[in-house]
Every structure is written in structure tokens, then in C-alpha cells.
Amino acid sequence: MNLRRLGTSLIAPLLGVGISIAVTSIILIAIHAQPLAVFASMIKYGASAHAMTLILNLATTYFLSALAVAIGFKMNLFNIGVNGQYTLGAMAGGAVAGSLQLPTLLSVPITIAVAMFVGAAWAGLAAWLKVARGVSEVISTIMLNFIATAIISYTIVRTSVGHETSLNVRGTALIPESGMLRGIPLLDPKTEIYGFFFISIIIGILYWFVLNRTRFGYDLRATGHSATAARTSGIDAKRMTIITMLISGALAGLVGLPYLLGDAGSYNLNFPTDWGFTGIAIALLGRNNPVGIAVGALLWAFLDVASGQLILEGVPREITTIMQGVIVIVVVMSYEIVRRNQVKSEQKNVARALEKQEVAA
């Protein structure tokens, strides 16, 4: 039964990738490129040690972002504000790390705590608005994204937090080497795999454990299954909303750190700001399951990294954006179809099994 369930849960992603390849091929042919050659070149580049390291690093970021979204999704809470939460968290973490002169073992945990706290606080605003005022978290988190952007610009441009870190680029003070979390050049001697790659694996395991093995996780999933049944069972919906939103925000606070502490060394105005939306797409792809999210993050990162190779093939790199879009749409649709069929086929199986029992009896 479980093997069958696993099998059916693979249908949707495979269908998504397959249809996406087909659609992309049609577009490639339409612009007079050779699909096979293009895909071969992407895969060949993606398999190189250098590219694989880049993919793992980017996937680390995406994985964290998707987990932040997924924990909310599990109880039908839509945190669309990961962008604002992680950029604020990364800026605060960067500012603190840049001002500290402490050994790595102290500096990095402090930076992580600050980033998580700021992310959680920002998400907490949306949670409070929902619980106390009934404001939909979809609206409030989106609006808070804009406010976060404005706060960051103001802080870095107008206050003493901002410095000119390189020519014409303002950002938080450069983090001393002791404050960075360097990685290890495991695959490619010239590029490091972020230290956060390993931390994110631990966070993924924790996420699974909390959701599936703790009472809190049960309450969260029960709320997602049926808000009315959860309430009747004694789950306090407001409390769940606040706690889950805070956890989601805290996880979001981590999203900017792999890049900040593994590479950038300063939060500046060129820091990427839309990893949160990527997280939504990947949480959907991975069905809020940590393994699924990991696979989705790797796929997404591969397409992003390999897209640079497309220019060499004379193909616009936006092709990969089309691929990503098609994958998400197809996968989300087929998940729903598969889910409905599963419910129906399970009903049939149960009926059949019972009939057999009765005949035997």
C-alpha cells in the first residue's frame, strides 16, 4: 500500500517535468534551436563539479525558503511575506555580524539568532493582524514586503548602519572573516559548498520531526485537514496561527544567511530579494514534504544555474523560466487529480477488501 502511495505521488512531478520538456522543445523548435542539443548542453554543464557546487548552494537557499512557506501551507496559512522577512533578517544579521569581533562559534550563532528573530517578528506582525483584527495574512504579508523594502533602503542609505562597501554600493559593514560561515570545497577545489548546506539538512530533519512526531505538529496538520474538526478537538486556532507564523518567519529569517555568510559578506542593495516567491513554487512542487522540497529545490537550482549555459547555445536564458513555470502548473494540477483519484481508489479498495472478508466469513 505504501509503495503504491509512493508510486502515485511520483506521477505528478514526473508528469510536470515531462510536459515541461515537451513545451520547451516546441518553443525551442519555434525559435530554430535544437532541443536535444540545448538539453544536452544544460545537463553536461550541470554535471560539472563547479556547477554542481553552485546548484547545491542555491538549492540550500531555496530549500530554507520553501520550508518557511511549507509550514504555513500545512495549516492553510499563506505566508507570502518570506521576501520581506528574509531581507530584513539578513540585513539585521549582516549589520550585527559586521559589528562583532568574536570567534566564529559565537558570532555565527548570534547572527543566526538575530536573523531568525527579525524574520519571526516581521511575520508576527501579520499573525497579530490576523488574530486580533481578522486581516488575511495573504494581504498583510504582501504589504509588509513593500514596507520591508522601504525600511531596508532607508536604513542602508540614510542611517549609520549603511556604509559604502564597494564602489557606489552601499550595504551593511563588511563581516570580518571570523563572522563568516565558510564552506568546504568538496566537489570542486575552487568553489565551496556553503556551511549552511549542512545546517539546512538538519533543519529539514527537524521540520519533519516536529510535523510528524510532536503534538504541536499534529495540531498543525489537523488544522490543515479540517479547521472545524481541529477546533472541536480542542485546538486553539489563534494560538496555532501565531506560533506557526512565528516559526515560518524564523525559518524565513534564515533564507538570506547561506549567501550572506558563505559568500557576500555584507547585506547591500544588490542582495537578491525574491527568493521567497521561489520558495512558494518549490513548496508546491515538494508538497510541503521535506524530501520533496529538497528535490524541487535541486531541480529549480539546476535550471537556474544551467540557464547561464543557454546563452552559449544562442538561446535566451528565459527558456528556463518557462520550464519552471510549466513544471509548477502541471505539477500542482496533477497533484490535485492524483489526490482525488487516490481518495476514490482507496474507497474502492476498502469496499473490495470488505466484500472479500464477508465472503470468507
Binding site: 500500500m1 510528524n212 512526531r213 510532536t214 503534538r215 504541536f216 505538529g217 499534529y218 495540531d219 496538520r221 489537523a222 485537514h225 479540517s226 472545524t228 474538526a229 477546533r231 472541536t232 478537538s233 480542542g234 485546538i235 486553539d236 489526490r339 481518495v343 476514490k344 482507496e346 474507497q347 474502492k348 479498495n349 476498502v350 469496499a351 477488501a353 470488505l354 472478508q357
Partner: protein, 509 residues
Amino acid sequence: MNDSALAVELKGIWKRFPGVIANSDINLSIAAGTVHAIVGENGAGKSTLMKILYGMQKPDEGTIAIDGELKEFESPSDAIDAGIGMVHQHFMLADNFTVLENIILGSEPRKGAKLDFDTARNQINSIAAENGLAVNPDALVAELGVGDRQRIEILKVLYRGARVLILDEPTAVLVPHEVDELFDTLRDLKREGITIMFISHKLDEVLAIADEITVIRQGTTVGSVDTTNQNISALELAEMMVGSELPTPETRGNTIRDEVVLDVTNLSVHAAGGKAIVDDISFTIRSGEILGIAGVEGNGQAEILDALMGLVENTGVVHFKGEDISNQSTRSRRELGIGFIPEDRHRQALMLEAPLWENRMLGHQTMAPNSKGFLLNISGAKEDTQRIVKEYDVRTPSIDVLASALSGGNQQKLIVGREMSGSPRLLIAAHPTRGVDVGAQAAIWDHLRNAREAGLAVLLISADLDELIGLSDSIKVLLRGQFVADANPATVTPQELGTAMTGAGKVSA
């Protein structure tokens, strides 16, 4: 009237659903211009049969003939075209429309782009006059009573040209004199040559109105009685409905102890507009006592339960085992030892797309054997789910299947088993055997009786008056949020209780 002309003939109808065979080999012949009653217990397959005849569901096997002509219905509109009309138990009327507007809704006569109200009014008046259905076409439905609304529903289907009327539990919502009026109407309709299929489980009424009665038991037609030529008593009919033996929910002996388990004083629940739905009621339940609350649905029963579970805002004081729990959360009330079987099992008691063992934990996730500290105890929960499946005869191939895969009755058995586990001191139960088959119903009654003997206090709400009378140690009648009468279950009859529920009569305490 030609006796040999069959308005409806069903032959060998089968319908299977996941987990249940709803109809097996149903054979039914209804002569034109007669009232034909279909009786059977809840879950016997009456509503499935009706849905098949009305085109809402397709039979797996079997044939339907209307006026001797074989028909296949893809949808209710096919059935309507064939002259079949259905009057639902729950009225489907727009309150803010007039009677006329409601009747023509969906099949409006037009004159160009405009609605032709004059033609419609004439047509309705003539149908009403022919069939003795007195209504004012221009009255606003919101201002009409239940009996009038039912007449509108009947007019609605006649207006669409129905020659065969299906009435689904038409008396469930009526007070006695309205029932008499309905029966007069039905006799008028019969005189006009309309065939009536009357679905009910109220045997006295069936005997009063039907020309022929067909009994359905466990999905199949077990026999027909022609009441004009044969004499049959309600008891004989009841025995046909349930098979040979009649299970009774009777409790044995008095097990009431001194200890007061639940003490409710001045409980009120107000609707959003300030209207009192539960209006200042007080009662106590002792250890080993079952208190039944009788009432027509919607008189505040659901709100009493929700208030006792801490699910709705309420005023008043609730003591449980001597402790004031008025301000306790739902969870702590459960942890103190209150079990709860809610009214709507799909919305309130189950996670349909989660396995049975996860549903076992719902509402009990903070207690053994489901958790230890903040961690879940999955193996403990699974083991205990196996126990419930066994003790309560939940028909399932495994505890890993989704709750949605079980039939309603089996879902209910799981819920009852869950709420009875962990030896609660108080059980708040709404319709504990609704949709459950006869055998399992008897088993649930046994469990309740044993728990009562062991000192469980039970607040019981049930639409099944026999169940209420049979199980309860005392009964209170609830009308518009207030207790209007006490009834002694040892002496009261379902008829008396039913009358008291409508506020029409008094029962002796």
C-alpha cells in the same frame, strides 16, 4: 383508476458504494394514482432508491419504467421530463422571493425578454385550485410557515408537469395539524390521478395515508403490503423493517448515584443579533445517569453542546465534578474527562483525508495512549485504534486507510469508540447511532449502558425518539432554547414526546 396501470416500475435495481451495498435487487411496482409508502430504517437504502428514481444517481444494474416505458435518467432534468417530481425534506425556497417567483424559478414563462407573470399566476392558480392547494401567489415566502412552504414545494413540482411525486420524509418538519392538512392535500392529488411515493419511517402516518407499503431492509425490498385489502399493525411493519427481532435501546435498572457530574446553571447562548438561542437553562446530571434532550432540530440543542464544550460564547456557570469549568478551554475540558460526539461528524469529528489511527488521536492528542509529553506516541495510538476497530466492530481492512474510505456508519463507530476511550466521566453525545446499521446500533447502545453502569454521566441528544426514550433516565423537552417539559422515559410514548417537542401538548412528568 386502472389498477393494472403502473406509474413506476423498478426491477432488479443494484447500487453499490464504497464499503456498502446501498440497494440490492430492489423491485417496486407503484400503481398510478395511489399513495405508495416506502418504509425502512435510517440507512436501509431509501434515500439511495429515491435518488436513483429522481436521476441523481445511476443504478449499477436494473431497469426503471415510467408508465410502462423504459427510461434511463442521466440527471434530475431527465426525470422531470418524464414527469417525476421531488419534494425534498429540507425546503429549497428563496425567502426573499414571493410564492409565485419561487414556483417559476428556473422555468419562467417569458414574453419576449420579459417574464410573463400573468400567465404564470393564472397557471399556478388553476393548478392550486385543481389540487386543493391554497396559497397566495404574491405572499413573501419569508412570512410563511412550514406547512405553507411544503405546499409551495409541491406546487413547484406540479408546475413542472410532475405526475409522480416523491415526498422525502414530508412530515418530519410538521406539527400534527399540519400533517393532517398534508394528508388532505395528498388525497386531493390522488384524486387528480397523481401518483405519490411517500418515504417515511413514521409507521402510524404511513398506515394512515398509504394504499400500499413497501418495506426496505438492508438495501433490498423485503415485501409489500396492500393496506386496502390487508390489515397490518405498526408493530408488524416494524418487525418487517428490522427483521425478526426488534432491538430495543432499553436500559436496565437504576444506576444513578449521588455524585453530581455536571451542574449547569443559567446557561445562555446568544446569536450574533442578540437573540437567545439557548435561553437561561439549568440542569444537573449525576454519575450513572443519562439525561436525554428531546427537541425538533434547531431549537438550541447544538448550541447547548457547543457551550458545554467551550466552543461558543456563552453565559452561565458550568460545574464538572464540582469544579467550575465555565472559563476552561475546549482542550482542558476534554482532558478533565469529557467525551464529545458532535452532530456533524464530517465537519467536526473527522479528518477525512487522514488515516484512521490519526483520527483516533483527534481530540485526545494530549492524552495517553496518543502522546507522551510533547511527543506523539504513534505506536500507542495505532494499537489503541486496533482495539477500537475490534470492540466497536468498525469494518475496515486496516487502520491505515483514510477515514473517507469508510462508510458513514463505520466512521460513527470509530468516533463513538474514540470518545468512550480513556474512561470519560461525562459523555456529550449527539445522535450517537445516526447512520449506523441495526447490529452496530445495538452494540453502541450496549457500550453506553455498560459505561452508565460504571458511572458515566451522559447528555444525550437524538432525533431517534425510541433511542432517546429507551436509553435516558430522564428526558427534558427543549423548545426555542428553553426546557418546556420533563418526560418520564418509563411512561412516555414517542407520540407524546413528539407532540411536546412542537409545543402543542404537555407530557406528564
